[in-house]
Amino acid sequence: MTNGEPIEGYLRAEEPPDDAVVVVRGGPIAADKIVAHASRQAREYTFRGSPMYSISVSLTVDGWDLPALLAGPLSSRSTYAVSTAGAVREAGFILLPTYDAPHYDLLLATGEYPEAERLLSLFSSAEPNSYKRRGR
């Protein structure tokens, strides 16, 4: 039993290609942050009737390229790391297109530390975000 809201009402009809770049936010890119953020999401949302452990990621879909992601949804983040949709899915993780593009929820089965470390092993090392917003 969960009090969460079903995420199904917020899904887009979209299947990202395997070579789409998946960008995870930084500052820092660490397993404990993945666990904390996934736990928060699971408290509020469900997927297929169960708590939805997930983190927000941005993908190069719908006309978005990496610089646009770093200057847009990631503009407040000092660092970032990348993988591909194919690598993430090959490792068994689900990418759900939620809300408006380029936002996705990357689902974790347990939201626990070992799974978060396994997920992060699919990503590059952290890179500085040279597009970080420095004021208008």
């Binding site: 983190i55 927000s56 407040s76 983040r77 408006d100 970080k132 004021g135 208008r136």
Partner: protein, 90 residues
């Protein structure tokens, strides 16, 4: 050794919902009484803090959900501007 940074309320600025704004839960705030609509707060996390304005507080079955409007720039830029204008002496 500097003082450890303590954000007012932690969030992932990229974790948005249908409003397009980042959100978090009120009970995660260091001092929940400071989190009121319109308040300027430090959010994100200690390693990458950002300024935000509290956009709304909404009662949900899972707790009080806080929506945040992330403000532009780095917090230190605000401090530098305040020092330049003598709004902050130190």
């Amino acid at each position: 050794m500097g003082t450890q940074i303590e954000v007012d309320i932690p969030c992932d600025p990229t974790q948005i919902d249908h409003t397009g704004m980042p959100w978090t839960f009120l009970d995660e705030a260091a001092h929940p009484d400071r989190i009121v609509e319109g308040a300027i707060v430090i959010t994100g996390d200690a390693e990458d803090p950002v300024f935000a304005r509290v956009a709304s507080l909404t009662e949900r079955p899972s707790g009080t959900k806080v929506h945040l409007e992330i403000l532009p720039g780095d917090p230190l830029e605000y401090v530098e501007a305040m020092r330049r204008s003598h709004l902050l002496i130190a």
